[in-house]
Symmetry: C2
Subunit: 193 residues, 2 copies
C-alpha cells in the first residue's frame, strides 16, 4: 500500500483539469469518476464530497507553492531578485484557471471553499509579510514604509504582472516582471548603479 493510492491521484488529476476548465459548479462527482475511470464508491472512500475534494486540491497547490516560495527565499541572491521570482511563481501557478473557478474560490459562490482558501492564503501571506519585515530590518527595504502599504502595492503588482495589455507591451511576461519589480524597488527614478 502506497501513501497515496493511484486511484486517488487519478481522481485529483482529473478533477483538477475539469475544475480548471469549467469551475466546480459545472462538474459533477459522477463525471469526475467517469473520466478518471474510478467507481463512485472509491471516490467516497477518499473524499467526503466535492467541497472536500476542492479543499484538498487547493491545499496541495498551496503547499507546493509554499515550498517553492521557501526555496526561492532561501537562495543567496538580492532581495529584489527573490521578489521577481516569487511573482513569476505566482503567475505560473494560477495559470489557465477558468474565470468560473476563480469566482468559486474567491467570491461567495461556495462560501466554505472561499473561506478555506482565505485561511490558507493568509498563512502564506504571513510568510511573505515576515520576509518583508526581515528585509526592512536588514536594510533591503526602506524602513519608512508601513508593511501594510507594501503588501497592498505587492498585490497590485501581482495583478499588473498578469495584465495582458502590459504583457504585450513587453516581449515576454518575464521582461514585464523585471520592469515591475524594478519599479517596485526603485520607483521611476534612475538607479545609481
Amino acid at each position: 500500500m502506497q501513501l497515496k493510492s493511484d486511484k486517488q491521484k487519478q481522481i485529483i488529476k482529473t478533477a483538477q483539469s475539469l475544475f480548471w476548465k469549467y469551475g466546480m459548479r459545472r462538474v459533477s462527482i459522477e463525471e469526475i469518476c467517469r473520466e478518471a475511470n474510478v467507481s463512485k464508491m472509491t471516490f467516497y472512500k477518499f473524499f467526503k464530497n466535492k467541497v472536500d475534494l476542492v479543499k484538498y486540491i487547493l491545499d496541495k497547490i498551496m503547499e507546493d507553492s509554499s515550498k517553492e516560495y521557501q526555496t526561492i527565499m532561501n537562495q543567496d541572491i538580492p532581495f529584489h531578485e527573490k521578489v521577481a521570482q516569487t511573482i513569476d511563481l505566482k503567475l505560473r501557478s494560477v495559470d489557465k484557471i477558468s474565470p468560473e473557478f476563480y469566482a468559486d474560490i474567491h467570491q461567495n459562490a461556495v462560501p466554505e471553499v472561499s473561506k478555506h482558501f482565505q485561511n490558507i492564503s493568509n498563512r502564506v501571506l504571513n510568510l511573505i509579510v515576515d520576509d518583508f519585515k526581515n528585509a526592512q530590518r536588514n536594510g533591503e527595504v526602506s524602513k519608512d514604509l508601513k508593511i501594510e502599504f507594501i503588501m497592498y502595492q505587492l498585490e497590485k503588482l501581482f495583478a499588473m504582472a498578469g495584465d495582458q495589455k502590459l504583457i504585450s507591451l513587453y516581449g515576454s511576461p518575464q521582461d514585464l516582471i523585471m520592469q515591475l519589480t524594478r519599479f517596485f524597488f526603485y520607483g521611476i527614478l534612475p538607479r545609481d548603479n
Copy 2:
C-alpha cells in the same frame, strides 16, 4: 417592432458565449436568462427549448459563413487564392469553440443537434463541390481527379490548417495556409512561374 427583438439578440449572444466556453450540457436555460437579463418566459417566447436555440445558433453561423464563402468565390482572383481565403474563413469561424461544445455538435452527445449540423454542413459542402466542379471545367483544377478525392484532401487540409504543431512551424496561421494551399494545388514540385 423589429424583425429580431433586442431580447432575442441578447439571448443568442449570451448563449453563444456560454456554449462556446462550457458546451451546451453544462449551461442551463435559467443561467442564460440570468446572464442575458431576460426572463424565462421571454426565452420560451422565442425558442422551444435549449436544443432549438442551439440549432438556431448553428444555422445563423452557417448562414453567415455561407455568405462570406460566396463573397470569396465571387471575387475575380485565381482559384487557389479563393481556396486559401476559404480555409482562413473556416479556421476563424471555428475559433475558440470548446472541446465540449465540439463534441456536442459532432458526436452523438445530443443526436438531434449533431444530425441537424450534418444537414446544414452538407448543404455548404455541396456549394464547395459545385465550385470545384466548375473549376475543373474551367481548367483551373486537373480533370483527372475524382471530385470525392479532392474533397477528401480538402478535409485533411482543413484539419492540418488547425494543427498547432504545424502552425508553430510557420510564423502565423496565414503563412501555413499559404503553404498548404500551394501544396494542395501544385504538390511538392517546384512551380514554373
